[in-house]
């Protein structure tokens, strides 16, 4: 038997925080590739500490639903899962290309394939494109600018690296006229997004796992979409003569389920059929393949 665990942050305060985790888990469950699919959280239950014991499978693929490699993925999750042999060098990553590590947890008799986070997988680029397409209702994006929004350095430098990584790849894809990485707490700031681009339209996609305080309140206000997040804003909203298409957290995009599966597949899980099924279900059925455009191959 093989199981999938989606490891996410969760929240004691915001019930919406775990919504995408449950939604992606449900999509994958329906695809039937795993005997068991379980959500696990730092702040909700089951906790990272206790999730493995809820599984009957001997092979477990753990995929962190986190944006970047860093404190949580390199330290907290392995520690809490009791992956005693874990060392970050096992991922052999420069901050954006974590792979997977095969380990044992000390409290259960199982093989744990600990995967890199969804946020730094190449397939996340496809999700950003998908997000941009759905928010613009399928418009031709080659005249559009794309802003990929990140938190900034904060507790770990890799968080900015992940944003740059995707921005660079998407720039090379030629799908957008202009692509930039912008941040909440460092330059270039999301506040200035309207003046950073040459294009008349800019799609703004935050590389966040779930919608919450930052994506619902801070970013819309910072960009000048609204003075009061409670009153909402239009998509697009014109700011300084530039139409801003604000997409909200990319993590809520159904196609993220595909990235989770890709992570598990990279670690050896037998999920090829499920990947096809999930893509069919979660992609907005456009003819042009974002995958081909971002130069990703399987």
């Amino acid at each position: 038997m093989q199981a999938l665990v989606i490891a996410a942050h969760g929240s004691h305060l915001n019930p919406g925080s775990s919504e995408p985790t449950f939604a992606h888990a449900e999509t994958i469950r329906a695809a039937g590739a795993f005997d068991e699919v379980r959500e696990a959280f730092w702040k909700e239950e089951p906790s990272f500490r206790e999730v493995l014991r809820t599984l009957e499978s001997e092979e477990v693929y753990v995929v962190p639903l986190f944006v970047s490699e860093g404190y949580f993925t390199e330290r907290v999750i392995p520690r809490e899962l009791r992956l005693a042999e874990w060392d970050v060098s096992a991922w052999d990553s420069d901050g954006t290309d974590a792979d997977h590590a095969t380990l044992r947890a000390t409290d259960v008799d199982k093989t744990v394939h600990y995967c890199g986070p969804v946020g730094t997988h190449d397939a996340m680029g496809d999700v950003i494109v998908e997000r941009a397409r759905s928010i613009t209702e399928g418009r031709d994006l080659t005249d559009f600018g794309l802003a990929v929004v990140g938190h900034g350095t904060e507790r770990n430098e890799n968080s900015a690296k992940a944003i740059h990584y995707h921005a660079d790849r998407l720039r090379r894809s030629g799908l957008f006229a202009e692509v930039r990485a912008v941040f909440m707490d460092e330059e270039p700031e999301v506040d200035d997004v309207a003046t950073l681009f040459e294009t008349d339209d800019v799609v703004v996609v935050p590389l966040f796992v779930a919608d919450g305080f930052h994506t619902r309140e801070d970013i819309p206000v910072d960009m000048g979409l609204t003075d009061d997040y409670r009153t909402g804003y239009d998509v697009p909203t014109a700011v300084d003569g530039v139409r801003i298409w604000y997409a909200g957290a990319v993590g809520t995009e159904p196609l993220v389920a595909d990235v989770v599966l890709e992570r598990a597949a990279d670690a050896g899980a037998d999920v090829a059929d499920a990947i096809v099924a999930v893509r069919e279900r979660t992609r907005s059925g456009s003819d042009a393949s974002a995958e081909a455009a971002t130069g990703r191959s399987r």
Binding site: H12, R29, K43, E44, E45, R53, T54, V76, D107
Partner: protein
């Protein structure tokens, strides 16, 4: 020949001894025994005739094939639900439903203290076990058997003619509710949305807080779906309960949990032991959490705080507790000062009411015009108007 019979004949070679059913392949032919039938020296066709439609054979098949998973928490839990684990029958929490199930209550002879009958999985040790099996199956046919798990009320009964079980779940307070008043669900994954908020719409960050919302029911679940549903409502409780019964619950005490923390939780290891007990009293007692606290400060230093009577254990301080401990640690770091405050006796009493009302989550129950209650809004506003937010202290 039904598939039950085919399976039975195949298994007879190795012998079967399960829930009152005994089948052996001996030199003198088959032996087939149930609480109702006893035959020896019969041939295959006689065995098949006896087994066809026999409820003990169907029951055996259910546990062997449908449930399977010997040694798993899932199986142990399903056995426990119908009192088939020998040990816990008669602990008093197996409620009856509508007058049915008398038979199973009649079987309350098992030693309730013996919570870990070694192999409690179906072996017929003596006559009384066979009686148990008969009464159990009768009860399952006859309206079913009910157990509670936290605030859940779980009912199991036989569905249809064979040994298949059907499970349903609702809030224990909704035991007698008219089904038409309850929202009906069949998909276990509906549960996580259902239990995310309490009846007043407040987010429930702690799954085992005794604030499970009412007004729903899950019906027609099979065993796997039942366990999944329970796992959504009370994650990991079945797994830890099972470990405890097997005698290998791995308790992690506060000291170790606190020392492991990093980042913003690094500081919780400074929480004084005395304050840890206050924190456990604040967060972990039965009125706040249905898990039974098994952790202490460390293996040698117990906290003098009730552990709770819950069915399932708490094996380690949870994330909510650690987050609370962080705030309490910060509080404990502050220096204390002696202050002067001028209050009447009634004002002091009223403040006590207010503290109690918040601590017991009673604030919303204080009636608008009940000015006698120290937690009454007008009264508290009056106090604030008169003394100020800081009660006149500098």
């Amino acid at each position: 020949m039904t598939s039950d019979v085919a399976a039975l004949i195949e298994a007879a070679g190795d012998g079967i001894d399960f829930d009152g059913l005994v089948v052996e392949d001996t030199a003198y032919g088959y032996r087939f025994e149930t609480p109702a039938v006893s035959k020896r020296g019969i041939d295959t066709s006689e065995l098949a005739a006896l087994a066809d439609g026999d409820p003990y054979v169907a029951n055996w098949r259910y546990w062997v094939e449908t449930v399977g998973g010997r040694g798993t928490a899932r199986r142990a839990f399903l056995r426990w639900l119908e009192g088939a684990d020998d040990a816990t029958v008669g602990e008093g929490d197996a409620e009856d439903e509508g007058g049915h199930g008398e038979a199973s209550d009649g079987a309350e002879h098992a030693d309730a203290d013996d919570a870990n009958a070694e192999d409690a999985d179906g072996e017929t040790d003596d006559e009384s076990d066979a009686v148990d099996a008969r009464e159990r199956l009768a009860a399952l046919r006859d309206g079913g058997r009910v157990r509670t798990w936290g605030e859940l009320r779980i009912r199991v009964r036989l569905g249809g003619a064979g040994g298949e079980r059907v499970y349903d779940v609702r809030h224990r307070d909704d035991a007698d509710a008219d089904p038409r008043d309850l929202d009906t669900h069949r998909d276990p994954s509906d549960a996580h949305d259902l239990v995310k908020h309490d009846d007043r719409g407040r987010y429930r960050p702690l799954s085992t807080a005794p604030s499970l919302p009412h007004g729903w029911r899950f019906v027609d679940l099979d065993g796997g779906a039942l366990v999944d549903t329970v796992d959504y409502v009370y994650p990991a409780t079945v797994a830890n309960w099972h470990r405890e019964r097997e005698g290998d619950l791995d308790v992690t005490h506060w000291r170790e949990t606190a020392d492991r923390q990093s980042g913003i939780y690094d500081l919780v290891s400074d929480l004084p032991t005395e304050a840890l007990a206050w924190a456990a009293e604040a967060c972990c007692v039965d009125s706040q959490c249905l898990k039974r606290r098994e952790w202490d400060h460390d293996a040698d230093t117990d906290l003098d705080v009730p552990r709770g009577d819950g069915e399932f254990p708490c094996r380690e301080p949870c994330s909510l507790f650690v987050a609370a401990a962080r705030e309490f640690t910060k509080l404990e770091r502050e220096p204390e000062e002696t202050r002067e405050v001028t209050l009447s006796e009634s004002e002091v009493e009223g403040l006590g009411d207010l503290v109690d009302a918040v601590a017991e989550d009673r604030v919303n129950d204080v009636r608008e015009a009940d000015l006698d209650d120290g937690a009454n809004r007008y009264r508290v506003r009056y106090l604030r108007a008169k003394r100020g937010r800081r009660l006149g202290m500098d």
